[in-house]
Symmetry: C2
Amino acid sequence: MYHDTSCELENELQSRHGLGLSEFEVLQAISGYCSDRETEKILMKDLEAEMYLSQSALSRTITRLERAGLVARAACEIDRRANFLQLTSAGRERWEEARPTHKAVLRKHFA
Amino acid sequence: MYHDTSCELENELQSRHGLGLSEFEVLQAISGYCSDRETEKILMKDLEAEMYLSQSALSRTITRLERAGLVARAACEIDRRANFLQLTSAGRERWEEARPTHKAVLRKHFA
DNA sequence: TGAAGTTACATGCTCGCGCATTCAATGTCA
DNA sequence: TGACATTGAATGCGCGAGCATGTAACTTCA
């Protein structure tokens, strides 16, 4: 059942919005984290803990999203090893476009 | 939740029995198919339909299992394109060893 | 303060997966 | 029977995932 679901999520998100599933999930996680205050968030330390993705996979997913202009890395001045992440406006927009697709597929498979 | 489960299945099966999850699933599927009569079964046509694995992935998984001596390919005389598959005795043994691990992980994650 | 440990990431490497293609064996139909 | 379509399976290719490692930037403690 999971295979069906995640496969269709992957396909629908990719064909309709140009996003892989884990890319969508990263957008969603960042968005959820930043929803109250318009701040950024430290990458691995927090996002990795929140997601089912290895540190390396996450790093590369962020690179892809950054290249696509959906997420921005920003240096952290307190700890210069760390990266702050935030959605760009395009990123938030793309995520909001894709949400209904994501939800619809889930709803369909759990009905 | 699925990520936790499948990840632990993968790790446990691999470390304790030297099997990947989809390898285990292939053994299980063949075994289930052959349980009543001691016959073989046609590869892609039937096994692929039964599993969540692409034809190419299945083909390569079988190759790995064959190399490990757990599954045997046998020519089909009626249709010489097709391959019959069957568990070797080592294959059946390995599967039966691994079953409790598989079941235990599932049970744990659904409790 | 400086040597040793730890942390936040990035990167090299390998692996399994799916897609598209290939190839031989079968089926179909005039 | 021969040309064309279809089917069963293998394989080339690229991608995303995890593991291990590399590398700066902290932290700790004598």
